[in-house]
Amino acid sequence: MKTKPITGKAFVLGKNIDTDQIIPAAHLVYSLSDPEERKLYGKYALSGVPAEESGLPQGNIPLTREDETESEFSIIVASDNFGCGSSREHAPACLEIAGIKAIVSPSYARIFYRNSVDGGFLTPYESEEDLSKKIRTGDELEIDSEVPALINHTRGETYKLNPLGSVADIVHAGGIFAYARENGMVPR
């Protein structure tokens, strides 16, 4: 399937970024279906990350600037075990609302991974190696989903990504409901 490449600026994080850091529990109260109220999730996405670890290697870079609900960054590059902790689907949802299109990490906590795919929020790519020390926040990236590979235009480097494997069909359909409709499991 021919899919449009994902392009944009990198936002780099360390390891074990848990869902309380992605969206602190005090913010889980807003509606995800109300078009205005849901923007608050974009405002507070990644607001639980300690400031010095937000936007590496420099740090002290918020994903979303103060008074804004959308980020200038499009692709999160993180170290191991991204999304560990709670099952809150508000985590992948808030990243999508902030404008994140994909995540690249060597490994994910499974519930976050599943929620990202089944809810069709964004694509969690597994990198072969930990790229959080090779890529800097602000680097211009491109994901070629057919190889699949991550191209760093700022540094002229290309990194291998693992194929999506058994979740590829759900990712390409756009989520579990679209997938189930394509396969006759849920009425159209």
Binding site: D18, V29, G48, V49, E89, A109
Partner: protein, 437 residues
């Protein structure tokens, strides 16, 4: 080749003779649980996808237990409970435990077993990562997101990738008097790391497990997710049967792992050699013994949550706290209303637990998740500034209990209580030898 307990449950619920790790299967769901944080968005997706007039697949299998943000003035949080209430009325749901009524329960993972919804051999999904707690009853139980929950509401099914199983074998007769299940699981998570069991089953087995009560087993399986586990599970036995039969008449089927089942790995622990453990800030795998941290200064102690707010947790804390004036602010939050009543009826040397806590100067809150996950700013026990807290809860990531500037140490109710008495991290063994033996 035989199958593990988890593989057998998933095979049966997907209509297959056998499954193996890595298989993707669609399973029939026995129970779906949701609460006030994830219920409203799941309901919204359910109606978006199945229509405004859609009905849930089986109203007897959907359980709604508001527990997270209950005693708060936060208008959004209160609105979310209203959403649950309207949905329960619209769908005529028999298992809704509404706030402000006699039916209100508190923390879902403890309420589910109390109300008879955790039955061996079944498949239970919940919109909360600590749904894995229910694996203590020999069932497959795991946490999911809002979209998956909405999918189940409409279809009664969900896809699952069959996990590999890691087996943790407990040797030694029983727990030493100063040790709690929390010490065992903190030790295991510290050994294998917060991603040491990612997408695997953690099966707890061996003679040591048979000596544990249901509440102890729930403490173990509750924190399987803190190692990244898909589920935690214990084979059912007489202890399980007795607990479940006292709470439900529904039939259930017990499954056991075959002697020739294939495991990812096996890990052996002698319970008699373990010592009180602590997880240091800011990760559940940042392990130390309580003894190594003796003297770390604390501002607050907290006993509560699905993993550390059960009646046996408060009995343990009371054994140590009885007769002392506490040096630091100490918060007591029973997981459920049944446990709250237990604080009044359960006695230690003739004194109700609640009086022991009151006389020691504890602050006692209402049954709910409370400050375990921070919550709205007026949440009981929330850490709102640079405070150092020792807690019987299950997570200590940055900001988990409120402020990012706070530091949280995780420990057993014994260790939390001993530390509350002294104001610094304290190995509980000195108190246990004084007061219990």
């Amino acid at each position: 080749m035989g199958m593990t307990l988890t593989e057998k449950i998933l095979a049966k619920h997907s209509g297959r003779d056998r499954v193996k790790p890595g298989d993707n299967v669609w399973v029939n769901v026995d129970v779906l649980m949701t609460h006030d944080v994830c219920g409203p968005p799941a309901i919204s997706i359910f109606h978006r996808e199945f229509g405004d007039d859609a009905k849930v697949w089986d109203k007897d299998k959907l359980v709604i237990i508001p527990d997270h943000y209950i005693f708060t003035k936060d208008k959004y949080a209160n609105r979310n409970v209203d959403v649950l209430r309207a949905f329960a009325a619209e769908q005529d749901l028999p298992h809704f435990y509404d706030v402000g009524t006699d039916r209100y329960k508190g923390v879902c993972h403890v309420a589910l077993p109390e109300e008879g919804f955790t039955r061996p051999g079944e498949v239970l999904f919940g919109t909360d990562s600590h749904t894995c707690t229910a694996g203590a009853f020999g069932q497959f139980a795991t946490g999911i997101g809002n979209t998956d929950a909405a999918f189940i509401m409409g279809t009664g099914k969900l896809w699952v990738k069959v996990p590999e199983t890691m087996r943790f074998v407990f040797e030694g007769g029983s727990l030493p008097p100063y040790l709690m299940a929390k010490d065992i699981i903190l030790k295991i998570i510290g050994d294998i790391g917060v991603d040491g069991a990612t997408y695997r089953t953690m099966e707890f087995a061996g003679p040591g497990i048979q000596a544990l009560t249901m509440e102890d087993r729930m403490t173990l399986t509750n924190m399987a997710i803190e190692a990244g586990g898909k589920n935690g599970v214990v084979e059912p036995d007489g202890v399980t049967e007795e607990y479940v039969r006292a709470r439900t008449d529904k039939p259930f089927e017990k499954f056991y792992s075959d002697p020739d089942a294939e495991y990812h790995s096996e890990h052996f622990y002698n319970l008699e050699e373990l010592v009180p453990m602590v997880a240091k800030p800011h990760s559940p795998d940042n392990k130390a013994t309580a003894e190594e941290l003796e003297g770390v200064k604390l501002d607050r102690a907290y006993i509560g949550s699905c993993t550390g707010g059960k009646l046996s947790d408060f009995v343990a804390a009371a054994e140590i706290i009885r007769g002392h004036k506490l040096k630091i602010d100490t918060y007591i939050v029973p997981a459920t209303t049944e446990i709250a009543r237990g604080l009044e009826t359960e006695t230690l040397l003739g004194t109700p637990l609640i009086d022991i806590f009151r006389e020691a100067g504890c602050k006692i809150g209402n049954a709910s998740c409370a400050a375990c996950l921070g919550g709205p700013s007026d949440t009981f026990g929330r850490l709102n500034k640079e405070e150092v807290c020792i807690s019987s809860t299950n997570r200590n990531y940055p900001g988990r209990m409120g402020s990012k500037a706070a530091q949280v140490y995780l420990a057993s109710p014994y260790t939390v209580a001993a530390s509350a008495v002294t104001g610094v991290i304290t190995d509980p063994r000195i108190f246990i030898q004084e007061t219990v033996i």
